[in-house]
Amino acid sequence: MNDLLAGVAAAVRLIVTLDHDLVEISLRSLQVSLSAVFIAALIGLPFGAWLSVSRFRYRRIAIAVLNALMGLPPVVVGLVVYILLSRSGPFGVFNLLFTPTAMIIAQVIIVTPIIASLAHQAIRELWFFYHDLLISLNTSKWQRMKTLLWDGRRSLLTATLTGFGRAIGEIGAIMIVGGNIDHLTRVLTTAIALEVGKGDFPLAIGLGIILISLAIIINLAVHILSRTERAGRW
């Protein structure tokens, strides 16, 4: 209990003094996770829509695999990306290991299935509802995808924010491919792990409080900007 209270005190102290290291790792956390989610959404949302409106032979298997990929263990993803980006690996020449870019790559791999799967489920429901109308209006597959993505944007926002939540709290993959290097690849989650390892629980909890607050603020900001949850509005 003392640790928790000390943690709150630590969090307040860091924020009020605008601790330089804190600002740096917080910005980096946001940079990595927001970039990853942005790219993952760019890939995942259209893919989810395409999967909903397409009919092909192995569709059921594809959907099952996509849903299963939501459970990809981040640490395994990190290990595989490390092997690929290592200097002795196939993509070593790009010298991406231990950079924020490598962390973004790993998180894109983890988050894309989540966004795609949730998008697919949301759009599938909407497609069921719009089905007769869109066929009656002689729409092309591309027009259907665009319409469903736009009309379903509220659920897609939720899907994207879910992906963001996963990314910002992720540690297994980015620890391996980023290396938690001070002033280079250290972010909130890896810093927390570091402080725990040093036995400094209050500071770790303080950072944790800040991490959660950051996630809440982002979620709130997005909802306010897109004016969801307003009465009378879909």
Partner: protein, 238 residues
Amino acid sequence: MVKSILPVVLKGASVKKGGVQIIGPLDMQLLEAGCTVVIGPNGAGKTTLLRLLHGLERLKSGSVTWNAPRPEINARQSFVFQTPVVMRRSVRENIAYPLILRGSSRKKALTEADRWAENVGLKAHGHQDANALSGGEKQKLALARALITRPEVLFLDEPSTNLDGASTLEIENLIRSARNSGTRIIMATHDFGQARRLGDEIVFIHHGRICEQASTDMFFNTPQTAEARAFVDGDILL
């Protein structure tokens, strides 16, 4: 003068779903002009016939032949469903949607949509979220959306079944004026008052087969078949 997509001819057409023969085999012809009302008891296959003509159902056997190739047909038909499918956008955006699909600029499409919204009496609701409308208003929206592309053939599946008297009257007036502007109406209903009011021709369906096809006067005054007679007399058909 653009060639009409009508007449449409069905030969031995049938539709099966889950092993059950819903309609068919049917032989039928629908000519240009006027309003054809497809009538029959519930479950007779009215909806399926309309959907088949519009291309929403797959033929099990037989043929459906229009007077033009398939891609042209799709562009010149519209369908109003029994339960209106209202998109998650504003009323005017709903109505404008088919025009935007066809490449119209957003501004032009919305202007035209506003005009049609006024035609159907939804002017005040133009910017409102379409899902906030009442059942009757939604059906009028669907009608406006169906007519905005100036279709040659308009299908309506029980358009006023769930509506009150006032809304029904409004809908019927709109259908009548569309017919008078030259739109070919093919509608399904089980309300024979409505059939009498709107129809030029009746197609009577029972158990998925066409029992009778005749002009409205002839059907109601001198029904030829036993089932038709029973139906017109108000008996329950088994």
